[in-house]
Symmetry: C2
Subunit: 193 residues, 2 copies
């Protein structure tokens, strides 16, 4: 060992994540990243490799901190409608000032998946996991009599994932909150018995 790092890797990764989340991959320049992290160019390169790998690490951190908890809550048997609504409302409006609008994984799908296969895989795996968790949670709710028997739950899970993705894009694009919330509530109301 020799001279230790002057920065905290987790904090730097968090700042980088928010920069990518807000501005996208191309929109976040190395200058933006060094400014946001308060870490020099070369130190970033030594610690994380190139820009692509820093982005992948930031995306993994996003999944771990913001996406996985939603999936975990669904898997642990939380109420589908309550869980989804609580998880998504902060995404939909700009009122949540501690984070950028929209879902970073959806943004990654929109502006990075086509060019970077590793991003494509991460996005696909994440949303496949969400869809599966939604399906199983809805099936449990049906057994408990909380969901109508006329709803095709497989289709509903796919529909809900697509809706969440659409809501995320339009939230980041500035669509009025009311429209987004109405769409979300309808998707949840479909389940009503």
């Amino acid at each position: 060992m020799a001279r230790p790092r002057e920065f905290d890797t987790d904090a730097v990764l968090d700042a980088a994540m928010r920069t990518f989340w807000q501005r996208g991959y191309d929109g976040a320049s190395l200058s933006d990243l060094t400014a946001a992290t308060d870490v020099g160019r070369q130190s970033l390169y030594l610690a994380f490799g190139d820009k692509q790998h820093l982005y992948l690490a930031a995306l993994d951190r996003y999944r771990e901190h913001f996406f996985a908890p939603l999936v975990a809550a669904l898997e642990q048997g939380a109420d589908v409608r309550v869980t989804l609504r609580e998880a998504l409302l902060p995404i939909l409006d700009g009122s949540c000032t501690d984070r950028p609008a929209g879902c970073m994984l959806v943004a990654a799908a929109a502006d990075r998946a086509e060019e970077d296969p590793q991003v494509r895989v991460r996005v696909a795996v994440a949303f496949a996991g969400l869809e599966e968790a939604l399906l199983e949670a809805a099936q449990r709710a049906r057994i408990a009599g909380l969901v109508a028997h006329t709803v095709d739950l497989t289709g509903w899970a796919a529909l809900t994932v697509a809706t969440v993705q659409g809501l995320s894009v339009m939230a980041a694009a500035g669509t009025p909150r009311a429209t987004l919330v109405r769409a979300l509530d309808t998707a949840l109301a479909v389940l009503h018995p």
Copy 2:
């Protein structure tokens, strides 16, 4: 008058539209655009102004040629489910080789709306129009007894727009066709009486 243009403005705009559609605003460099249109740099600038205005013109052309026909079909009383399905299926898979995957207006929302207010307005107006057309078409279908009385049509219209946007993003990101079609069909099935 003096020397006339050597190129057809419509054809050039069409090529530029497809280039922006496929690669996004930042991803489409002027070199890409001159290559795709087979028109020189300076000629593009004289004919369309700068890159931003060329993009706006391309976006308007997209709306006119690909988006407006869907809205018009809905307004003219075509069957909601059939019209939506026919319009969206070509977007969802890569099998439609005559155009890039996904909806250009959704792509514009994702990667350009935040920076360009004119793009934001165009996106908002277009999807507000789609939502209104969907609502009115569903209301007419309900009167004709083709739609269940238990569905909140206002919410369904908002939900469907969000779903379409989500499908578009994930189609462009390479999500398997089957998942996308299932989500679309479920959104349409919600209307069933």
